[in-house]
Symmetry: C2
Subunit: 209 residues, 2 copies
């Protein structure tokens, strides 16, 4: 029989690392399948197949289909959130245009990997309650951030800061989704410039920036 020492310290024991790798494979496969086929057609069987894992194994890593999507959404949101947090700490100095540019760039970068997946997540996922909650919480944070900016920054000229902030956040998010995932996508640099122009001119009341 195997000694206790052997059992307690099997050599090069890759348990956790291997499991983590499989999780990641499943997640990558799900990202691909959802992005390519949409949420409904992205079945667990197809995800398992692409991850080259049996359906049974998939269910050992995730309790159900929505849990996979939830993790995908959570990771995406967390990346954006962290980037925004860094921005928030760095800049209050700078022009309004400069701040908006940083903001827009974060959103575009955050969507570069897989625009189609992001579109699926933004459009089809939110019906699931927990995903919806996370998305809307993140959105509220961003609106609050922009609203504060519109209140404090000397360049800002808007009457209702709350509504204006909602418009700005929605504009950036939705247009990046739409125009990077379109069949004929707008090039990233140009999109950045145009979006910055749009929201800056809006926020500064149409005066010179």
């Amino acid at each position: 029989m195997t000694s206790d020492r052997r059992r307690i310290h099997p050599r090069k024991q890759p348990r956790q690392a291997r499991a983590e790798l499989t999780r990641q494979r499943i997640l990558d496969a799900a990202a691909h399948v959802f992005g390519e086929m949409g949420y409904a057609a992205g079945t667990t069987n197809r995800i398992a197949e692409r991850a080259r894992v049996s359906i049974g194994s998939l269910y050992q890593y995730y309790p159900n289909k929505d849990a996979i999507l939830l993790e995908l959404v959570t990771r995406h949101l967390d990346e954006g959130r962290q980037a925004l947090e860094r921005l928030r700490e760095e800049t209050l100095p700078g022009t309004l245009e400069g701040i908006f540019r940083a903001h827009v760039r974060i959103v575009i970068d955050n969507h570069r990997d897989d625009p189609h997946l992001l579109q699926v997540m933004a459009e089809q996922a939110p019906r699931a309650s927990e995903v919806l909650e996370r998305v809307s919480r993140y959105e509220r944070e961003r609106v609050a951030y922009v609203e504060e900016l519109l209140t404090r920054h000397p360049d800002a000229r808007v009457r209702d800061t709350h509504v204006a902030a909602r418009l700005i956040v929605a504009t950036v998010e939705l247009l990046v989704h739409q125009l990077t995932a379109a069949p004929d996508p707008v090039e990233a640099g140009r999109l950045e410039n145009e979006l910055v122009a749009m929201v800056t001119r809006y926020a500064t009341g149409g005066g010179a920036v």
Copy 2:
């Protein structure tokens, strides 16, 4: 037995009218169910139930579920399209802001009935090929219209008219969807003003409007 005359001219024969009414009932029910529950959860059984028609009857009017959605989408697009067509004939005089206002108002009006349904149609329907084709054709028409406007109108100050037109059309459409269907919708009149301000300032290069 019944005479030939009786068979050919049954009195007050309501065949077509009644059928048309049933079709409309099914369509209304589908609009409600899709808008309330989304596309996937909007099953044919639920639609039939709400229309107070048996499932068998429903399939006598529509060959499948997607055909119902397609008709819903088509009707919506046609309404917007006709309104846009009227606008196009009436105005080339007027300020750029005035034209944009008319444009924005059309979109808002076109979404007033049932914002949630429209959001479902915009988000979940497009995966179906035929619907996608119609939606993108209508969108191309609108982009072409705005692009021409940006090219000809003296107030317009944009470099790349095509990209600018895409941004403007997408902004109006997406923000109306998002902000009228949100849990805390932005009031229609205010939304109109803010959207007009945003796209006008963008199109006029940030100068005074």
